[in-house]
């Protein structure tokens, strides 16, 4: 088993740059998730690792070998496609064993390997069926089974759950996590645009935007210390609240007093929904009028409007009975993120005590 290293990797489709200078190191046995908005180049990057797309420049290394010029089948990777890509006219068993059979592996050995993979995925009873006779989740397992049978060094998944319904998606997500620990040492690269999937599955998340790496790190790393506004907004649900700071002033003109060497560069402050705490009348920092309440059972997300008409969201405990159009005052407690005019995170800044005058 082995890791994957991308160095200065670029990809052009004609004159369009789709991947621009990407460096990523994926350790052996790691579960690495590429996440980013639609069209950012996740699939392209994965397909480049698989060898289904050529690499315009840069090197791709798998297990210490540079694989740029190797065929997909020689790279030690196996891919699970979003659409499953099962051969419709073959039984499940043949689907899983097809590659090995075509490459001259003996029938008995193939049968054994298929049976073993089927046992891991609990699809032994389905081996004689055709893909048409399977549910979406079962097809997904067969597709994963086809990858397992090849005994790859690196598993590549391209949005494998996006065709499943919500409930099945959660269940299959857990199974993939289980599979990763079961296939000890298998490196997995997983593409998704769903940050929850990324957070729950990954050892390492790579956030991509417009063909560039925005940040690489462990899930909680990205959650707690986003490198920029984009990552801060992308990771975590609900989205982080951002408030513009213009020459030290909040949008309503009140002065926001900050301490620290970088205080003067702050252009945006960010805070998650749980950093907003209701304050006593007259002592808060932001006054709010409730517009929507989402009750999730374990929490209530209260969306509210600030006096400068921005929508922000605060997390309340489940039993809080917040009514529509109620008014609140909030103070900021907990982690506050500061960003400069280019969206980059700033360290060494904090709110000064009594940072803002009472709310307007």
């Amino acid at each position: 088993m082995s890791g994957v290293t991308l160095r200065n990797v670029k990809k052009n489709f004609g004159s369009v740059e789709v991947i621009r200078d990407v460096d990523i190191t994926i350790e052996e046995g790691e579960f690495c998730v590429f996440v980013g908005p639609s069209g950012c180049g996740k699939s392209t990057l994965l397909r480049m690792i698989a060898g289904l797309e050529e690499t315009t420049s840069g090197t791709i290394e798998i297990g210490g070998r540079i694989v740029n010029d190797l065929n997909p089948s020689q790279r030690g990777t196996a891919m699970v496609f979003q659409t499953y890509a099962l051969y419709p006219h073959m039984t499940v068993e043949r689907n899983m064993g097809f590659g090995l059979l075509m490459n001259g592996v003996s029938k008995s050995l193939v049968k054994e390997k298929v049976a073993k993979a089927a046992r891991i995925l609990q699809i032994e009873k389905l081996l004689d069926r055709k893909p048409k006779q399977l549910s979406g989740g079962q097809r997904q397992r067969v597709a994963i089974g086809r990858a397992i049978v090849r005994d790859p060094e690196v598993f590549l998944f391209d949005e494998p759950l996006s065709n499943l319904d919500a409930e099945l998606r959660v269940a299959t997500r857990l199974e993939i996590a289980k599979l990763h620990s079961q296939l000890r040492g298998a490196t997995m690269v997983y593409v998704t645009h769903d940050q929850v999937e990324a957070m729950t599955l990954a050892d390492k998340i790579v956030v991509l935007r417009d063909g560039r790496v925005e940040q690489v790190g462990a899930p909680m790393d990205l959650y707690n210390n986003p490198a920029n506004v984009f990552v801060a907004g992308f990771i975590g649900s609900p989205k982080m609240n951002f408030v513009d700071v213009n020459h030290g002033q909040l949008p309503d003109g009140r002065v926001l007093r900050l301490d620290g060497p970088n205080a003067a560069s702050v252009a945006t402050i960010g805070f998650r929904s749980d950093s907003l705490k209701p304050a006593d009348q007259g002592n808060g920092m932001i006054s709010a009028k409730v517009s929507v309440v989402e009750r999730l059972g374990d929490a209530e997300y209260v969306h509210f409007q600030t006096p400068w008409e921005q929508e922000l969201v605060a997390r309340f405990p489940p039993e809080a009975e917040v009514g529509l159009d109620a008014t609140f005052e909030f103070e900021l407690s907990g982690k506050i993120h500061f960003f400069d005019a280019n969206g980059r995170a700033l360290a060494n800044v904090m709110l000064a005590s009594g940072a803002v005058a009472k709310p307007v």
């Binding site: 020689q74 659409t83 006219h89 097809f98 590659g99 090995l100 075509m102 090849r150």
Partner: protein, 289 residues
């Protein structure tokens, strides 16, 4: 109970109930069908009548049924020979045409290469040239290749008739197959030839059947091309040309002709009955796609 009562009382008033409409339609269709198959039935019936009875006996059913026509056709008129000539030309051209059209259609449908659209355009253009104009050049070409006087030559020339349309059928079908299937087999280390043979061609089964049936029909019944190519070489005649020879200058052997025509159509009817279901699927699929 009351429902049926209402329905029947209504049907007494309305003459054209849906059920009656269906019956009338069926009768009309059956009538048309009868007109359609009458010549065929007449021919088959006549083939069992001795020549003397052929025009005197107005009834369909032979008074004195005989296999004499068949024996005469099969042995004396050399139909045996023509039958196997036709079989050779048909089977050979079906195999070659289907494979060639599928391979070409696969590349046209799924690969991008420079000049693809020019090539497609040229091939489609050939559809507009009437067959009659190309027969002499084809004959010339075969002669230059040294196969102008052989069944192989006839068979190869027969492949050319509809191959462009078949290729386009395949190309259209292969275009719809998701590219992930090929990518999956590439990841599996299966080469392009095996991918074509084990993945793509089986998926194109409806088109394969359509092409097999249409090419078989065409090759089996073809007249003009085998007539021209076998003019100097009667031993190479196919059934359709051979049957024509029952019509001598002064005398037409109607009995022999009906018997040999029956021999000629039976295999093709059997093939169609055998592949009918797939054939209709294929045509429907081709229209959809």
């Amino acid at each position: 109970m009351s429902d049926t009562a209402v329905a029947s009382s209504r049907s007494q008033k309305v003459f054209l109930t849906p059920r009656r409409k269906r019956q009338i339609t069926s009768i009309i269709l059956a009538g048309i069908c009868a007109v359609w198959v009458y010549p065929l039935i007449w021919m088959i019936a006549a083939s069992f009548k001795p020549n003397s009875e052929l025009f005197s006996n107005q009834s369909m059913i032979p008074i004195d049924p005989t296999l004499e026509n068949y024996i005469r056709a099969w042995t004396e008129a050399n139909l045996q020979r023509y039958f196997f000539n036709t079989l050779f030309v048909t089977v050979g051209s079906v195999v070659i045409t289907t494979l060639a059209a599928a391979l070409a259609g696969y590349v046209l449908g799924r690969r991008a290469f420079p000049g693809k659209w020019v090539l497609m355009g040229l091939m489609v253009f050939t559809l507009f040239i009437p067959q009659g104009y190309t027969i002499i050049p084809i004959f010339q070409l075969l002669t230059n290749l040294g196969i102008g006087q052989s069944l192989w030559g006839l068979m190869l020339a027969t492949c050319g008739h509809n191959i462009v349309i078949f290729m386009l059928l395949f190309a259209g079908y292969f275009t719809q197959i998701p590219k992930e299937l090929e990518e999956a087999s590439r990841m599996d280390g299966v080469g392009p030839v095996k991918t074509f043979w084990y993945v793509m061609l089986p998926l194109a089964k409806p088109i394969v059947v359509t092409v097999v049936v249409m090419q078989a029909l065409m090759a089996w019944n073809d007249f003009l091309l085998p007539l021209v190519i076998t003019l100097a070489n009667p031993a190479m005649r196919t059934l359709s040309v051979g049957i024509y020879s029952f019509k001598g200058e002064h005398f037409v052997d109607w009995g022999g002709m009906t018997a040999s025509s029956t021999i000629a159509i039976v295999p093709i009817v059997l093939l169609f009955l055998f592949l009918q279901r797939y054939f209709i699927d294929g045509l429907a699929g081709a229209v959809k796609g």
